[in-house]
């Protein structure tokens, strides 16, 4: 959804098959959400420690511009809204948004 809504995000994946439903997208989405986000949520009081290696990776190798974490966050919230509209109360929405921002901040914390 992020690649469709914000095509500029595709520039970070020139090596991927980016057709809707591609195995690579499914795999990477799983890594990000089921992997990193779940890890962060399970260590919510110390996300920086939990994602320290990922933070290094993004700073040294991936160098994804910080603005893109907000874009992915927006798409994540949209997907949650689509699949679980009754779960996404305003309070849950606020907490999730805050959480996603915190994760983005951790991942870009070592950029400079």
């Amino acid at each position: 959804r992020m690649f469709s809504t914000y095509p500029q995000t595709k520039t970070y994946f020139p090596h991927f098959d980016l057709h809707h439903g591609s195995e690579q997208i499914r795999g990477h989405g799983k890594k990000v959400v089921a992997g990193a986000l779940v890890e962060a949520a399970n260590h919510i009081d110390d996300i920086a420690s939990a994602l320290s290696k990922l933070s290094d990776l993004h700073a040294q190798k991936l160098r994804v511009d910080p603005v893109n974490f907000k874009l992915l966050g927006q798409c994540f919230l949209v997907v949650v809204a689509i699949h679980h509209p009754s779960l996404l109360t305003p309070e849950v929405h606020a907490s999730l948004d805050k959480f996603l921002c915190a994760v983005g901040n951790v991942l870009t914390a070592k950029y400079r």
Partner: protein
């Protein structure tokens, strides 16, 4: 001038035709005030904003949300002329209301999430693309007359 493809126009019109402006507007503004509490700074005169429940039930919030989304409808009706449509509103938000344009972007993103929760799978990626484009154009037009 912004270029809209026929598909984008159709996606925007189709979603808008099914929007309950009063409900969606109220929900979007309430969520803005809850998710980004600092936005409450513009609404000191609205009374009780002390909790999500208070905000959601606040009649001034509901009324203002409806007003804002009704105005948004003008953009939907004038896709080829959004800049002109919002020229006076832009001046108002700058000179009288003193609203940081970043808030237009925040509200736009919240509106998208509200639409997604109402339209579910019908809010396809193509739909989101068209609507993110629209809220971006509206935000830009509202910021255009700032000085």
């Amino acid at each position: 001038m912004v270029h809209w493809s026929a598909e984008e126009k159709q996606l925007i019109a189709s979603v808008w035709s099914k929007v309950n402006v009063e409900e969606c507007g109220a929900e979007a503004l309430a969520r803005l005030l809850i998710v980004y509490p600092w936005t409450q700074r513009f609404f000191a005169s609205f009374g009780n904003l002390s909790s999500p429940t208070a905000i959601i039930g606040n009649p001034k919030v509901r009324a203002h949300g409806k007003k804002v989304l009704t105005s948004f409808g003008e953009a939907v009706k004038n896709l080829d002329n959004i800049k002109t449509t919002y020229a006076k509103l832009s001046e108002l938000h700058c000179e009288k209301l003193h609203v940081d344009p970043e808030n237009f972007r925040l509200l736009g993103d919240i509106l998208i999430i509200v639409l997604a929760s109402h339209f579910a799978r019908d809010f396809t990626p193509a739909c989101q693309f068209a609507w993110q484009k629209l809220v971006g154009v509206v935000a830009h037009a509202l910021a255009r007359k700032y000085h």
